[in-house]
């Protein structure tokens, strides 16, 4: 029984933040929610968590409406990080655990386990404001999962972490999945999605433009990528331009990259090259990358939102949906 989001629509005043959004996530899987800034990811997550109500549509987990589920079903790592700055780490984590009804002894053991796993056991009795941003983020991740939620929803969990901590967090993701948990996260790092996610949905301006398993999404693009290199310089392959249906996406000194429509067998390109007496040094057939799929659907590259973070420092800028929330 999976998490099913069905036809969710949400308006903020005259702005449509989410328009008939549907997707589903299989239990025990890692799901990537992709979209440009302001696409509606955060609103969508908040509706799944039932901290915001949709105008229409519904969300179910294992057949039950999210409005009827106990709160400890969910773990949430918001995009805007925040903890009580002047509380000590362990005290703070115990507080959040108590809100989810975790027994003190269980909470204590979990806190110790996770602090060790994230290699910060010494910070246990330090105030949060004394920790680095990256370490605060790890504390917040622990706060989101101490109560062992079935579904873990994370908004941009990797932004602001150094490579070592990104690796630690990825390990934690996989460990959670191996415990049978369902993970949903949004990110701008397409490689991370390709590495971790079985399924994805791409949201653009409040609409789901693509959803499904990563493999299906790539297949459905209806084309393959061919990379071809020959002896001699790249200018020697002008004949490629005359082949019908083929689109050259990159012509470098080292190789030429082509998009081949699904109805054409890529090996015909190789045959053509050999017939023309070219000396082929590289011939590669690949699926399109997620980055390409994203650009194709959204119209531009997925960029991290570092600039926006700098801009909203006094904490008065809107979250994910600037236009949408400024009602």
């Amino acid at each position: 029984m999976s998490l099913v989001v069905e036809s969710i629509t949400k308006r903020f005043g005259s702005v449509v933040a989410l328009d008939d959004v549907s997707f589903s996530v299989e239990p025990g899987r890692i799901f990537g929610l992709l979209g440009a800034n302001g696409a509606g990811k955060t609103t969508c997550m908040r509706i799944v968590l039932d901290i915001l109500r949709a105008d229409s549509g519904q969300v179910t987990w294992q057949g039950k409406l999210n409005t009827k589920l106990p709160r400890d079903t969910w773990g949430y790592l918001p995009e805007e990080r925040g903890l009580y700055a002047r509380m000590k780490v362990a005290e703070q984590l115990r507080f959040f655990a108590s809100l989810y009804g975790v027994e003190p002894a269980t909470a204590e053991a979990e806190i110790t386990g996770w602090l060790d796993r994230f290699r910060i056991p010494d910070y246990r009795d330090r105030k949060v404001e004394e920790l680095s941003k990256g370490n605060q983020q790890k504390i917040q991740f622990i706060a989101a999962i101490l109560h062992d939620p079935d579904v873990l929803i994370m908004d941009e969990p990797f932004t602001g972490l150094d490579p070592v901590n990104v690796a630690l967090l990825k390990e934690a993701f996989l460990a959670m999945r191996d415990r049978g948990k369902t993970l949903i996260f949004s990110t701008h790092q397409m490689e991370t999605v390709e590495e971790l996610c079985e399924s994805i949905a791409i949201v653009d301006r409040g609409k789901v433009v693509v959803a499904g398993t990563l493999r299906d999404v790539k297949r459905r693009m209806g084309r393959q990528v061919v990379r071809l290199a020959t002896d001699g310089d790249g200018r020697g392959t002008q004949w490629l331009d005359e082949l019908p249906g083929i689109e050259i996406t990159r012509r470098g000194e080292d190789y030429v990259e082509l998009h081949v429509p699904a109805n054409r067998e890529p090996s015909t390109i190789l045959r053509e090259a050999l017939d023309r007496g070219e000396h082929v040094t590289r011939f590669e057939i690949a699926d399109p990358s997620l980055e390409e799929i994203f650009v194709e659907h959204v119209g531009h590259r997925s960029t991290p939102d570092e600039e926006r973070h700098l801009a909203d420092e006094p904490a008065d800028a809107p979250a994910d949906e600037p236009a949408a929330e400024r009602v």
Partner: protein
């Protein structure tokens, strides 16, 4: 979803500990307790260091050619007023001394060594004329007493001129039987009780106002802080708005009551020890204020109004705090509540001087004002138990309504960032909140 407890208690516990552990709390509570203790001991201390010393006056009567020495008369009048028991120690008694050098005496008044100089002379038609040289204002008790003694001296002389023998004068000056009666025999409170109750009413009104303003602001600040530090998103995922709101008010209220308990303790300590402090300083015990008698039911009702007022206002303060994104904006959002609280505060001062006025009777049933006005009436007028009950029930219902409204504003407000402050936005947002 689920009850309010136990999560409200977890929230309250955190709120209380953070509040009480803070250095600001310890310092404020300590200073308030010391201030109150000093206030209670003030009369004793003032007597001991001699600020409250008995009056000293001089009389220059050589021009008047009086039959009898006026000094004993003035001494008796001043002593009777200063020491009703009539058994004061000799060094505590007022001093009245005859002088002949008026210029020297004037200089002494100027220097503050004498409270006043009374010059007695005669007019052309042989009437007594008095000139009193003093720096004291018209409300000074000594000045009033000197005037009284002077007129009885003059009247005595006129009576003698009219042929009434000195033996009959005492009967003429004897005070008549004078009793004050209220129309309702049940509130036959004597004037001493009224004065004490007035003081208690003053203190209650001030304490209620301080609690509403101070602790209401604590609640608003705390909500706004959680919002601006973005810890709110974690909280709102873990607990319902009603749990968070209730916990916040309970925790802050408990911290506030802790502070008040410390102050109350200082008052009790002050009353308990003022006797020994007085004897230590060599002051007579009658100058020490006494603790008023307590009526259990009345105290319960007064506490109900105090707590109800605090809860009502802090619930709305929490809603105000949830509407802003920055701590600096809290005051602005809470301004309407501040005005409401001040309206109640000032109207209760008007009520202190006219506790029986009909507008006070009506306003004491209105929920935002009853926490101030009903206690005033209970102490100074005589509201029926029905009226007190109605005021309490209306207050309770308003609190329930306020919690409902506030938790809707709160659940909508806490996720709204970066907006211009506005009730319209918030009201619109409440329609889509859970």
């Amino acid at each position: 979803m689920g009850g309010v407890f136990p999560n409200a208690l977890h929230v309250a516990r955190r709120e209380y500990l953070i509040r009480v552990r803070g250095r600001a709390f310890a310092i404020t509570t300590g200073l308030l307790a010391i201030a109150v203790l000093l206030l209670v001991l003030l009369p004793t201390i003032l007597t001991a260091i001699g600020i409250d010393k008995p009056p000293r006056i001089a009389i220059a009567a050589s021009e008047a050619q009086l039959d009898a020495d006026p000094v004993p008369l003035f001494t008796t009048v001043l002593t009777a007023a200063n020491d009703p028991s009539g058994e004061g120690a000799s060094d505590e008694a007022p001093s009245v001394s005859p002088v002949t050098d008026t210029d020297a005496a004037r200089a002494e008044v100027e220097a503050g060594d004498l409270d006043g100089l009374l010059i007695i002379s005669r007019t052309d038609d042989d009437e007594l004329a008095f000139e009193y040289v003093t720096k004291a204002g018209p409300t000074s008790q000594t000045r009033i007493l000197v005037e009284q003694a002077a007129s009885s001296l003059a009247i005595g002389e006129r009576l003698e001129a009219a042929g009434i023998p000195p033996g009959e004068r005492a009967a003429i000056f004897a005070p008549p039987s004078f009793t004050t009666v209220t129309p309702d025999p049940s509130d036959a409170s004597d004037s001493e009780d009224f004065g004490r109750n007035l003081a208690i009413a003053y203190i209650l009104v001030i304490l209620t106002f301080m609690a509403v303003i101070t602790y209401g602001n604590w609640v608003a600040q705390s909500v706004a802080e959680e919002k601006s530090s973005r810890v709110m998103e974690l909280l709102i995922t873990a607990a319902t708005p009603r749990q968070l709101l209730t916990g916040k008010i309970l925790g802050t209220g408990a911290a506030g009551l802790t502070q008040y308990a410390a102050i109350l303790l200082a008052v009790v300590v002050g009353f308990l020890f003022s006797g020994s402090v007085a004897s230590m300083l060599g002051v007579e015990a009658s100058a020490v204020p006494q603790l008023p008698e307590l009526n259990v039911l009345g105290i319960a009702a007064l506490s109900g109004f105090f707590l109800g007022g605090f809860i009502l206002y802090s619930t709305l303060y929490a809603a105000a705090g949830s509407m802003v994104s920055r701590l600096e904006d809290v005051q602005q959002a809470a301004a309407p509540l501040m005005f409401l609280a001040m309206a109640g505060y000032f109207s209760s001062f008007a009520a202190l001087s006219a506790p029986d006025a009909s507008w006070v009777g009506i306003a004491s049933l209105v929920p935002f004002f009853s926490p101030y006005l009903m206690p005033v009436r209970m102490l100074l007028a005589d509201p029926t138990q029905l009226e007190i009950g109605i005021a309490l029930i209306v207050l309770l219902l308003t609190i329930l309504g306020a919690i409902w409204v506030a938790s809707r504003i709160y659940s909508a407000g806490v996720l709204l960032y970066g907006q211009r402050l506005g009730w319209r936005n918030v009201l619109r947002a409440t329609r889509v909140s859970r």
